[in-house]
Subunit: 145 residues, 2 copies
DNA sequence: TCTTGACCTTCCAACAATGGGAAGCTTTAC
DNA sequence: GTAAAGCTTCCCATTGTTGGAAGGTCAAGA
């Protein structure tokens, strides 16, 4: 099977297959006499594994681990679980960071009248101009007991 | 004010200040006779704006817009709001993507016993091996009424 | 058999945003 | 006057991915 077919069958682009081979994530693919890569079913299987792992956000670095565990018949499932949980932690902190941004921005946007006038708390906040005014305004709108 | 002081005052690293100047996000900074950058208060103000915008996840591309609007005294706040809302949409889709990953992974991790045995649904799912077996097992562990 | 188009090969560049470091000049502090 | 700290530019690395150029190969049709 050549690289185009392997790409279609695995969901990994030809470019990325060459890259993964280059960085050693996948083993060297055997070649035909003319130098074309010749993929076995096993190769495609590995690529499909990678495709799924990528779609779950695992980095190439983490995939080294996962692939090694996958191919180790004596692995402990606790090792696999540890990789997964570590990745969940990473996802959690990314999600939190984005959510914080989102909330701040939404708050600002909600206080922007969004009309033809130039006055806008979003820019005001970014410029940190009239910070007290900002605080006052927020205080009036969200009074704390 | 030299670049080190401007960096401290704005929260943007010296490296990034040079980069932003290079790509035209900020205007050329004036120079002393010896070639050192010499930052005005206004320059620092702009840098602080950028620092805050970055912390809200705006890209350099979006900051071009925001800076232009900031400096346009005839802007319409609706234009600013539009940029903010567009960015919120981006954040939302990133968050959703990460949350989907997180959920899938957590589901798999929850079904992994995490002990010394090699059997693990996380690898099973990535390998897409014995998908029916997987489904059966999930069915046994989480019986649906 | 020759041609053509669709594939494959390698290598190089680019993206976005940031950090690291080298070589060399300037300023500051002692 | 010297040494340290800080500045300058320039190049490189990162992560994962795509694009393209130059050139070889394969398969189908004339």
């Amino acid at each position: 099977m050549n690289i185009g077919q392997a790409a279609k069958a695995s969901g990994v682009s030809g470019k990325m297959i060459r890259y993964y081979e280059d960085v050693g994530l996948i083993p060297r693919i055997s070649r035909t006499d003319s130098g074309y890569r010749d993929f076995s079913e096993k190769d495609v299987h590995i690529l499909r594994f990678i495709s799924r792992a990528r779609s779950l956000g695992f980095s190439v670095e983490q995939m080294y681990n996962l692939l090694a565990l996958w191919q180790d018949r004596n692995r402990a499932s606790s090792d696999v679980k540890a990789v997964a949980l570590a990745h969940i932690d990473e996802l959690d902190s990314k999600i939190k960071k984005l959510q914080d941004m989102r909330e701040t921005l939404l708050h600002l946007a909600n206080h922007c009248h969004g009309d033809h006038r130039p006055d806008c708390p979003i820019l005001g906040d970014l410029a940190a101009e009239a910070q007290e005014l900002e605080d006052q305004r927020a205080g009036q709108e969200l009074p704390e007991p």
